[in-house]
């Protein structure tokens, strides 16, 4: 006897949506509206006071966006989700929901550059400080926890260096400290890894990347695991104490396993408002419909690229956890059995100049500041996505100037390799001239 609840691929297509409640429309309708009629004054008051569920204003919630939220919550195994205008706003909202002035967070040092700057420069303006720890330094996460630490934040596979956090061990450390773990799972998508099943408490995504997949739309989301007991200690007053903004409501008492999402929406969306447009939500939903088939191709192409790059004379090093000599190989086998993802970091012989020549001479691969497009993307992080980081922060992130970040697309692998050959040939020229 087994439950007949729908499985991953079915949820990708149907999750969160019932045509019978939407005029029989097979496709999810785009509710392009700002606001929603109230039945009467009593109904309006009940909605504003969280006595009843429903939509008030599209900054807070929207029926098209709701489908996306429920679909991603279902795919991640979460109790609830809140979609946002971008991945960055999802991270900001998560931290602002959890923390007060004077609080502290422990953060992996290998993150998307924008996230590093959020923790390094922007959150301190709100009195929230961060300690950065190298992703492989598990003991370092433990040592960095202070009395006022409110969470551990990281990417399972760090951007751009591809180093893994030992999540099972870090979850144990967080559990001992009584703090939640927030994982940015953009690189994995729930197809490859479900952080909540491994003990994380909140998952954030930039849906802009593999989830949407087509490089067309900005979107983010936070997903709640529902297992963290906010009431166990008095460490999380933002979740447990009466909140003046809703007549003394304690989110943890009233909403339990969805308290975090309810607070993030009721306070965060109300006061900060990084809402997702229904059009973009719809675009992301189109992408999610094919998530499994795309991820499978992304991963198989990535493995072929890893092999190609590892054997190339112009490549100094390759970082991808599928490589047997990678320090994270065993951990990746355990945590990522369906694939280690389509992000590859590699060093090009000849350093920064060779890197620039390579990037300027590939034609199929796109040089841009994104990852997780269906198309192959390349960038030189030290001069682009991570250029606003100082030398010390770059070093902590283990980033070198010869590093090229590759997001492998789903084109024919022979065409990607041929394109790279052109890039490497061009990259070798200045080096050959210099050697003469």
């Amino acid at each position: 006897m087994d439950p007949k609840t729908y499985k991953f691929d079915t949820i990708s297509l149907h999750g969160g949506y019932m045509p019978s409640k939407n005029a029989g429309s097979r496709q999810v309708p785009i509710y392009q509206t700002t606001s929603y009629l109230f039945d009467d004054v009593d109904h309006a008051a009940a909605l504003f006071n969280l006595e009843q569920g429903g939509h008030i204003y599209s900054r807070i919630s929207n029926p098209t966006v709701q489908v996306l939220e429920e679909r991603v919550a279902a795919l991640e195994g979460g109790t609830a989700a809140l979609a946002t205008a971008s991945g960055m706003s999802a991270i900001f909202l998560a931290i602002m929901t959890l923390c007060n002035t004077g609080d502290h967070v422990v953060v992996s040092s290998q993150l998307y550059g924008g996230t590093v700057n959020l923790f390094r420069l922007t959150l301190p303006k709100f009195g929230i400080k961060a300690t950065f720890v190298k992703p492989r330094d598990t003991e370092g996460f433990k040592k960095a926890i202070q009395e006022n630490t409110k969470c551990i934040f990281g990417e399972l596979v760090g951007n751009p260096g591809n180093e893994l956090m030992n999540m099972p061990e870090i979850v144990k450390i967080a559990n001992e400290a009584g703090i939640p773990v927030i994982i940015d799972s953009t690189y994995q998508t729930p197809y490859l890894f479900k952080p909540l099943e491994h003990g994380a408490d909140i998952v954030v995504h930039s849906l802009t990347k593999w989830m949407a997949g087509h490089g067309s739309s900005m979107a983010g989301i936070l997903v709640e695991g529902g297992k963290f007991d906010w009431l166990k200690t008095d460490k999380f007053p933002t979740m447990t104490e009466p909140y003046e903004g809703y007549h003394g409501l304690s989110f943890a008492e009233e909403f339990g396993p969805v308290a975090f999402t309810m607070k993030a929406r009721a306070e965060g969306m109300r006061d900060m408002g990084p809402c997702l447009s229904p059009q973009n939500a719809w675009n992301v939903l189109q992408g999610i419909e094919t998530l499994s088939v795309r991820m499978e191709k992304h991963c198989s192409n990535a493995l072929k690229m890893v092999e190609y790059l590892s054997n190339h004379k112009s490549v100094a090093w390759v970082s991808h956890a599928s490589l047997k000599d990678n320090p994270d190989y065993e951990l990746a086998k355990t945590l990522l059995p369906k694939g280690t993802g389509s992000m590859i970091a590699f060093g090009i012989k000849g350093g920064k100049e060779a890197g620039a020549a390579f990037i300027d001479n590939v034609k199929l691969a796109s040089h841009l500041a994104n990852v997780g497009d269906t198309r192959t993307l390349v960038i030189h992080p030290a001069s682009a996505t991570h250029s606003q980081m100082d030398e010390a922060t770059l070093k902590l992130a283990n980033m070198s100037h010869d590093m090229i970040r590759l997001s492998v697309g789903i084109e024919d692998i022979d065409d990607i390799i041929n394109d790279f050959e052109d890039g490497f040939r061009a990259a070798e020229k200045p080096r050959l001239v210099a050697n003469k």
Binding site: G53, A74, G226, E254
Partner: protein, 270 residues
Amino acid sequence: MKFTVNKKEVFASTGGRPFDKKKPLIIFIHGSGLSHITWVLQTRYFAFHGYSVLAIDLPGHGYSEGPALESIEEQGKWIADVIDSVGVKEASLVGHSQGCLVVMECASQFPDKIRSIGLMGGAGAIPMNPELLELAEKGDPKAVDLMMDWAHGPAGHFGGHPVPGLHHINLGGSIVINGSVKNALGVDFRACDNYKNGFEAAKKIKCPAINILGDRDRMCPVKEGKKLADNIKDSEVEVIENCGHMILLEEAGKSLAILKKFIRNNHPVE
């Protein structure tokens, strides 16, 4: 709020308003393995409209001290003890699933304390599937998955939670998992399976009753709900279309509207 019943600490949500014993009291009683969280889309409304609300965590559930009570009869008696503990003479009771059995047992044992009863997915008996019962008593989380599968109608399986962003099945499952599958869900299922007094209790109920049913309910089907209502002297039945057993969440708005009308008529705010 936390208070003491029979020398044990009990937690109840008051719906976001302070408990006031001068106001008419409604006690909400959750289903097997669940907690006060399931009632959030009913309790806040009543709490902000003149009532005092206690969405209780039964002993051994949510934030209430254990152990879980092993029979429906004990649970019914315990609800009467809750009423006494908070210093109130009478209350209306609202139950879901197993909570309906508890409501009926309490209303039949203590008719003077109960003003009206609202049932959601109420049946005269809830015999358990033996395999499900065994899994729950062993503490196997598969019992939770099966329960969530059977308990939810189309909205649970596809989507469309009344509160944007919430996921029916994962939320319901996490409430149970956050408690104890073995010591709360297993004990509850056994209590339901053992309980044979439902129809006799129903015949003794003197107060007005309503049974709100879902036409897609596989755990307490409509015909069983109607059969129960036939045994209660002053009762009515409302059936909500395309709704499974988790009526209070799947069709929170419709079930609240029915409950509002019923309670306002039978236990009005003076």
